[in-house]
Amino acid sequence: MSEQDVQDWIGKQVANNDVVLFMKGTKQMPQCGFSMQVAQILNHLGVDFKDINVLDDMSVREGVKVFSNWPTVPQLYVKGEFVGGCDIVREMFQAGELQEMLNEKGIANNAQTQTA
């Protein structure tokens, strides 16, 4: 794939799936502590998400850094919007902001009743 094809492919994944996590490893078997933390938070909240293992494809691993001008993986996208990496997702989760944002965007999660 050319660099532009990779960007298009990433754009399509992010557009066609409500919640996408670019990570090292898979949600069943994360291969990096930071990726694992974000997957755990999403699982804890009962959020259905698509995991994309950047270790499977070097062009995606590099391309996703360009896509959002963000130098590291994991990267979480909700409804096409870049939310952040591990630090931001954890901070938002601890502050209850992640749950709030998911509810606002109509993403099913088990924190729904608390803020409804």
Partner: protein
């Protein structure tokens, strides 16, 4: 591949002269850091924007020689 805490602090200080910076070497291996940065420059910016500003100040070292830098940013 590693980077000294002083080098990280200097790059950040160059970009944000008013910043209060705390850097912790998490694993003692010069490769896993946590940084807390407070600067007026972050006011009114989203978290993503704040972190992007720091990554920009690190001039491409983040994700390269610098493997892990847990960031916490805030305005004073």
């Amino acid at each position: 591949m590693a980077m000294a805490a002083d080098d990280i602090a200097r790059l950040i200080k160059d970009r944000f002269p008013d910043a209060e910076i705390q850097i912790e070497d998490l694993a003692g291996d010069g490769d896993h850091y946590a940084a807390s940065i407070v600067s007026e420059a972050f006011r009114g910016k989203s978290r993503v924007q704040q972190h992007q500003m720091v990554y920009d100040a690190l001039q491409g070292n983040m994700g390269g020689v610098l493997h892990a830098l847990a960031l916490k940013t805030a305005a004073p």
